[in-house]
């Protein structure tokens, strides 16, 4: 019998398949289906810094706008005693998921600046989350902002959040970091117990007829696994933190590769959105099949087996890898 269990952020998981942050955690019923299908932990959808601040400001703006400006219409909306804004709903959902699931629930915060909103880290903890994932999402557009300044700000944010909570903190990283190992090191030093590679940015598209920017959601494919695979392989063994791969995990092979690179867990979002929770038993079965066929006894056995430290040719993960790819291209008939 193959042993699929793993640990992540100090949590004992029955297998390495974790549901990544996605709308699937917005409903208890969907989350339950994931659990029943075999998912070992759930990272909740993200509570955004903007959501915490702007939802409140927006509600205020539109309830207030036009009020006390005309003798006949001193307001345009009835005033409720209370409003359950995004953050409140989020905390309620943490509680509801914890109440209804036996697998770990990992909260998710998404933001970039230090400030009052980070107290939601503690509130998510208090609502029952087993761990917290902090998503550092920032697109730089200001030429005067240096990478040094940005990274320092993000490290400070991690420190601020980690000091506010007792549950373990994982940090979800952007792939666009010049010196990822150094940055990862600073993040871990600031208190992160885990690193999640990588955040997928939803890239805007152009409508060339209307000359407008359009936004649409494209799900990942297995091809996207390469990037986190490489970096987890590089980071494995160099940090006192658990690594997780997200982006491009769709098949059993993807899961196996993730484990071999050194990840403790492989996170799925696009695959689940595409195929539903019913794909999980098959995926787990395929992983077991593969392990059986290749005589692996446990997941832990393979974790990190193909990391940079473990492979025969560590340079394969560095620039030489690039040369080799080009070379292999040239050699094609």
């Amino acid at each position: 019998m193959t042993n699929l269990s793993t640990t992540y952020l100090g949590l004992n998981l029955k297998n390495p398949l974790v549901a990544s942050a996605s709308p699937l955690s917005k409903k208890v019923e969907h989350a339950k289906q994931l659990e029943e299908a075999g998912i070992s932990a759930i990272v909740m959808y993200s509570l955004f810094e903007e959501q915490i601040i702007h939802e409140s400001l927006e509600l205020d703006h539109y309830l207030t706008r036009g009020s006390n400006a005309n003798a006949e219409s001193l307001s345009y909306f009835p005033e409720s005693e209370t409003y359950s804004l995004g953050p409140d709903k989020y905390l309620d959902q943490v509680t509801a998921l914890k109440k209804n699931l036996s697998i770990p629930v990992i909260g998710s915060l998404n933001g970039v600046s230090s400030g009052g909103w980070t107290r939601y880290a503690r509130l998510i903890q208090d609502a029952g989350a087993d761990a917290l994932e902090l998503n550092l999402y920032y697109v730089t557009t200001d030429p005067s902002l240096t990478s040094q300044d940005l990274e320092t700000a993000q490290v400070e944010l991690v420190a601020e959040v980690s000091s506010a909570i007792k549950i373990p903190l994982a940090v979800k990283l952007s792939p666009y970091i010049t010196c990822l190992p150094n940055f990862a090191h600073r993040i871990v030093k600031a208190g992160a117990k885990g690193l999640v590679l990588f955040n997928r940015f939803y890239q805007p598209d152009f409508d060339v007829d209307e000359l407008e920017i359009v936004h649409s959601l494209d799900l990942s494919t297995s091809a996207e696994l390469r990037l986190p695979l490489r970096w987890v392989s590089i980071l494995h063994g160099k940090l006192q933190a658990d690594l997780a791969i997200t982006s491009g995990v769709h098949t059993a092979t993807d899961v196996v590769k993730s484990m071999m690179s050194g990840a403790r867990v492989a996170m799925l979002a696009s695959a689940l959105l595409q195929n539903g929770s019913q794909m999980v038993p098959g995926l787990l079965g395929d992983v077991q099949e593969w392990m059986k066929a290749h005589d692996y006894e446990s997941i832990q056995q393979m974790q990190g087996s193909m990391s940079q430290q473990s492979v025969a040719e560590p340079a394969a993960f560095e620039r030489a890898n690039y040369m080799k790819v080009l070379g292999s291209y040239r050699n094609l008939p």
Binding site: A69, N70, S73, E79
Partner: protein, 1187 residues
């Protein structure tokens, strides 16, 4: 235990008692009483219970008539029932009021008394409405202050239960209903001690029940009706005593003692005024002031006006009284005196006091100010040997010479009372902040406090005035702070300085706080002459704060509320600064806390940033400015505009004499062009190199401030330097010039034109043919360009085929520069009517937003073309607009028919050809109409000198030979609810009328109450938990007649379909109904995206667009053409962009989810139904279902 003290307004004070003493409440919104219904609905929705522990049932009805009917039914079946209303609403209740009184039914109606629409509508307060009910058999019970409104609501209930006579409890609309002041609250225990529960059970025992059936409401004949009408007399005889008894009991419980008539003043008064309502407060204070100085004067305040207990009145009146001035806040044209006057005269006659001289006067109509000086003027009049027996006070009547001279310098304001006047912009939160300040002062200090707020009638760029009084003495001053009386004047918007004379309110040595982008060093040089002069002459302490910068930095945007409030407390010293800041923050938490901590933080930041930005200005010794305040209207405006409307714009309408006004409410049109409000911070600037001349910007502009013209290039010879032009791209008008021009001082900066502009720069996609640019630097040059543009002649209408957007928009808008909200979704449709048909249109406009922005003084937007033709407009009522418009059609048809008959008889004089041409004229297009106009001129010329009476008749009617277009315009509150019965009948009449429903899906004008048009899942007042039932399908109902042209349009989704619908509707020789999606401020999103949101409404299936043309059925075709595609997005994707839907997810997510599911089902099933209808096979004009 000490009773709690609260700071609230009269509406809330009244509703808080009424709600606790009722089981059923039937409501309908009408200003200024709407808030009582809103409070009741909100409280019940939140589960607040009445005195007996059950939540009152609150229901919104379709009209006040409906509310009265529901109340009548609820009363007949034994519920403790109430309603709230005013003005025309109360008039609609009168038929039921007779019934309720005739059946001796205990109930209280609470009325915020308001003017009646006569020569004009007015939302403001007087007693015309309640006086119209004095014959109904109801007790009329008058409270004069917020405290009294609170107290009398309870006393009225006590008295009606005992007497069985229904009570109409009234107080002055706005003055009392909207005044915020500190009062002692009636607790539940107080109310329990007051209400006799046995009487409630007796009320229930009289109810209809099949367990002990009776029959009520018989029809009677001459033999018995009269006698039975007399059976009730004993009940009326004892009602005054019962009411006094209730007042006495009330005094025992609360310590506040009232009488049916309360006398105040000198115990041996010789001259007395008699008065009721809030004016009684002023009268009481004035006579006490004068009596303290030894003057033998007094005032009788009337509490119970019906039944009028003359004996009680005489008892209250000192024996020493020699003369009485009775003051009525109403007018009864043609009567021998106003009602209270006549009752007093009668009481004196019947009471054998013939030696008392009585005179009667009118005051305070439509909330006209009533001040101590006016009370004194009435008393002074009594001292004259020959006083005016019928007078007016508060106006200058130079026609009938009824008015009394008033000494404006007379004031009785307490020295200790601090008086403050604040000028703000509607959108900057000034009023809200001042309401908070009053609460802080009233509830956190020992001071008494009073706040009253004044708004102009515009819906965009409103100027608000807040009048605050506070001090250690009780404040009983129900009138505005007068000139030279305010110790604190604050101007929250710098640009007001150029148009508002605010420092006239400041008293010598007072303080002036100005929000200014200029600091303490630069400000002086940027003030107009008049402001500098007042600051120096009145020795004002002068403070500036750059609130704009603080707001910008703290994220407050345009809201100055918290900043200016903090500055006020910091300067005024009403509380120690630290405590004041703590209280402001506490109030912020209380007000905004539930909206999330980010809002609280933003406001806290603003408070903290204020004090350090507040500076006292060192005032120079001399006036140095050269710039003066701008005149209210330009010198070239017509005389009436200059002399009358200009004075109203200048906030000095109170001083216009009677003789200046039209006698019948008739005004010239096209006057908004003279009122330059200069609201926009940014205006669109046209880039000719990108423009494709599509005209979409012109079409969507809510205020007709962006226009395009095609014209002779030669006209450019004298163009101003910055005037832009390009070659016309219109294939119909080659070789001509083309310009898009913006009116910089009329634009509101809404950006709809930029949003709709499809022309983008190929090298820089963000640049369009229209881009928003800061206005100040462009103001003067673009104003000149606009004047030049307007002088360019419009193209001859005959040359324009209006069937395309770009061509239709060459037609001059005859609806311009209205006071509608920036980005209004209604006015583009109204403007389109004016462009397409305005020179021959008559408009019947239902009361509502469109009648306010369409017809509220000082200036009105319906305009004329170069030939002086334009829409003739009128507003009748809210409920009767369809019938009103039908009446117009009947006249047009009848007089046209008669004119045709007359023409036929003048063949000899007119010539056979002309007669034939007139009688057979084809007026289906502009050329045909113009040709007919020329023929009419020919008739006039040929018959001008005829002495034949039929010829004179023809001359007076000849204009009716030209086709007229009758438009019936109103909102969904009218069309779906209160006016639906009439609308249905008018549609059924088959007459050639055009009905335009501006569907905002909510009562917009009265502040967002649900109508039957409100869609499922949307939150509105009276539908706090989200409307649980679907929107009524008015179009489907109209289609069921088969002969009504029906179109459902959304300009933002398909402007061409809209244009086609308007043209077809007008061309259809029968009833037409256009239901137009109108985005609205009450939907709760940035109206710059209104057009985009309209698209989403259509794409989601919420708003399917169609035209139903009965003419197609006559041709054997299906008349229904669905013109939107099958829904491509879920309703939620459209809906959740809007606060009205989104807030339900924040209030009750589960319900929101359920209702949205049902709303989706509504859209889907409606789509399916329409598809089926559109697929039906028609043959020979009859429909056959396809198998």
């Amino acid at each position: 235990m000490k009773s709690p003290v609260i700071t609230i307004d009269g509406n809330e004070a009244t509703a808080s008692v009424a709600h606790r003493l009722s089981e059923v409440i039937a409501i309908y919104p009408i200003t200024p009483s709407s808030a009582m219904g809103e409070f009741s609905d909100e409280w019940s929705a939140k589960g607040r219970k009445n005195l007996w522990g059950t939540v009152p049932a609150v229901i919104e009805m379709q009209s006040e008539g409906g509310a009265a009917g529901a109340v009548h039914g609820a009363l007949q079946t034994g519920a403790l029932t109430t309603t709230f209303t005013a003005s025309q609403g109360l008039l609609l209740m009168i038929p039921n009021m007779y019934k309720i009184a005739g059946e001796l039914t205990s109930t209280v109606f609470h009325v915020a008394a308001r003017a009646i629409a006569a020569h004009a509508l007015s939302i403001y307060g007087d007693h015309q409405d309640v006086m119209a009910c004095r014959q109904t058999g109801w007790a009329l019970f008058s409270s004069g202050s917020v405290q009294e409104a609170h107290d009398f609501a309870a006393i009225a209930q006590m008295a009606t239960l005992k007497s069985r006579v229904p009570f109409l409890h009234f107080f002055d609309g706005f003055r009392t209903s909207h005044e915020v002041t500190k009062i002692v609250q009636l607790t539940d225990d107080d109310l329990r001690a007051l209400i006799d529960e046995d009487l409630i059970r007796a009320h229930r025992a009289r109810a209809l029940s099949p367990e002990h059936p009776v029959l009520r409401g018989t029809a009677q004949n001459p033999d018995v009706y009269f006698q039975m009408r007399e059976t009730v007399n004993p009940f009326y005889e004892v009602t005054p005593a019962i009411t006094q008894e209730a007042m006495d009991k009330f005094a025992q419980v609360t310590g506040r003692h009232y009488n049916l008539f309360d006398y105040f003043g000198h115990p041996e008064a010789e001259r007395v005024v008699v008065i009721m309502g809030s004016g009684g407060e002023t009268a009481e204070e004035t006579v006490m002031h004068l009596a303290a100085k030894g003057e033998k004067v007094g005032a009788v305040r009337v509490r119970l006006y019906r039944p009028f207990p003359g004996d009680y009145f005489l008892k209250a009146l000192p024996k020493s009284v020699k003369s009485i001035a009775v003051l009525d806040r109403t007018k009864e044209p043609g009567a021998s005196g106003e009602p209270l006057y006549l009752d007093v005269v009668n009481a004196l006659v019947e009471g054998h006091r013939p030696n008392v001289k009585v005179i009667g006067g009118r005051y305070g109509l439509s909330s006209k100010e009533f001040t101590p000086a006016m009370v004194k003027a009435a008393l002074d009049e009594l001292s004259k040997p020959e006083p005016k027996t019928h007078f007016t006070v508060g106006i200058v009547d130079d026609v009938s010479h009824t008015s009394l001279d008033v000494d404006a310098s007379f004031s009785i304001e307490h020295e200790e009372t601090v008086r403050c006047v604040f000028f703000g912009l509607g959108s900057d939160g000034t009023v809200g902040a001042n309401k908070n300040s009053i609460k802080i002062i009233g509830e956190e200090t020992e001071n008494y406090a009073q706040g009253y707020f004044y708004y102009d009638s515009k819906k965009s760029g409103t100027v608000t005035m807040s009048h605050l009084r506070f001090g250690p003495k009780s404040i009983r001053a129900p009138y505005l702070i007068e000139a030279n009386q305010a110790s604190f004047v604050a101007c929250h918007q710098f640009n007001f300085l150029e148009r508002v004379n605010m420092l006239k309110y400041a008293k010598t040595g007072g303080t002036f706080l100005l929000n200014s982008m200029f600091g303490p060093e630069e400000i002086w040089e940027n003030l107009p002459v008049e402001v500098q002069r007042d600051i120096i002459e009145k020795k004002l302490k002068f403070f500036v704060i750059n609130g704009y910068e603080v707001a910008e930095k703290t994220g407050m945007g345009g809201r100055m509320n918290t900043i200016m409030q903090t500055a006020f407390f910091a300067i005024s010293g009403v509380l120690p600064r630290e405590q004041a800041i703590a209280e402001i923050k506490h109030a912020i938490e209380k007000t905004y806390g539930k909206r999330g901590e980010a809002v609280v933080k933003m406001n806290f930041d603003a408070v903290d940033a204020t004090v350090e930005n507040l500076h006292e200005v060192k005032v120079p010794a001399a006036v140095t400015a050269t710039v003066t305040r701008r005149p209210p209207v330009p010198a070239e405006a017509p005389e009436f505009v200059r002399e009358v409307l200009g004075q109203i714009i200048d906030a000095d309408g109170d001083n216009i004499p009677v003789s200046a006004f039209p006698v019948d409410g008739t005004f010239p049109t096209g006057t908004t062009q003279w009122e330059k409000r200069n609201l926009a911070l940014d205006i669109p600037v046209w880039e000719a190199d990108l423009c494709i001349q599509c005209g979409k910007c012109v079409m969507v502009c809510p205020h007709a401030v962006i226009r395009h013209k095609v014209y002779d290039k030669a006209l450019l010879a004298n163009k101003p330097a910055t005037f832009k032009a390009m070659d016309s791209k219109f294939k119909e008008f080659p070789g001509m010039a083309y310009t898009v021009q913006v009116a910089p001082e009329d634009c509101t900066g809404c950006t709809l034109c930029v949003e709709v502009c499809p022309a983008k720069d190929k090298t820089q996609a963000g640049r369009k043919a229209l881009n928003m640019v800061p206005q100040p630097a462009l103001r003067e040059s673009e104003a000149k360009n606009w004047d030049f543009f307007m002088e360019i002649p419009d193209l001859d209408r005959k040359l324009i085929n209006p069937s395309t957007i770009k061509n239709s928009q060459l037609l001059r808008p005859l609806f311009e520069f209205s006071g509608a909200c920036a980005g209004c979704g209604e006015t583009p449709y109204v403007k389109l009517v004016s462009q397409l048909f305005g020179d021959r249109a008559i408009v019947a406009n239902a009361t509502g937003c469109s009648s306010i922005y369409g017809g509220n003084l000082p200036t009105t937007p319906w305009a004329v073309d170069a030939k002086g033709r334009g829409p003739a407009w009128s507003n009748s009522l809210f409920e009767d607009n369809a019938e009103f418009g039908l009446g117009m059609r009947l006249t047009v048809d009848k007089q046209s028919e008669y004119a045709h008959e007359l023409v036929a008889g003048f063949e000899k004089e007119l010539g056979a050809d002309l007669v034939k041409a007139i009688l057979g004229a084809d007026q289906s297009n502009e050329a045909g109409i113009e040709a007919q106009r020329e023929r009419v001129e020919a008739i006039k010329a040929k018959l001008a000198k005829s002495s034949d009476s039929r010829a004179k008749d023809l001359l007076s009617l000849a204009d009716n030979l030209v086709k007229k277009s009758v438009w019936i315009i109103g909102g969904d509150g009218w069309a779906y609810d209160i006016g639906y019965g009439g609308l249905d009948h008018v549609l059924a009449s088959g007459r050639n009328i055009n009905i335009l429903v501006l569907d905002t899906e909510v009562y917009s004008n009265t502040g967002g109450q649900a109508s039957k048009s409100t869609p499922r899942a949307a939150v509105a007042k009276f539908a706090m938990g989200g409307k649980g039932l679907p929107k009524k399908d008015l179009g489907l109902i109209a289609m069921s007649y088969g002969y009504v042209y029906v179109a459902r349009v959304a300009m933002g989704a398909n402007d061409q379909q809209t244009l086609r619908a308007f043209l077809e509707a007008e061309a259809y020789d029968g009833p037409s109904l256009i239901i137009a999606y109108s985005h609205c401020i009450a939907h709760g999103y940035d109206m710059a995206h209104g057009l985009e949101q309209q698209k989403l409404a259509v794409q989601s299936g919420h708003w399917p667009m169609y035209r139903y043309d009965p003419r197609l059925a006559e041709k054997g075709q299906n008349p229904l053409l669905i013109e939107s595609k099958e829904p491509t997005i879920p309703v939620s994707q459209y809906a959740y962009n809007e606060t009205r839907y989104k807030m339900l997810t924040q209030i009750d997510e589960a319900r929101a989810e359920q209702l949205m599911k049902e709303a989706q089902h509504d859209a889907t099933s409606r789509w399916t139904l329409y598809q089926q209808m559109a697929a039906m096979h028609y043959e020979n004009g009859s429909e056959k279902k396809e198998n």
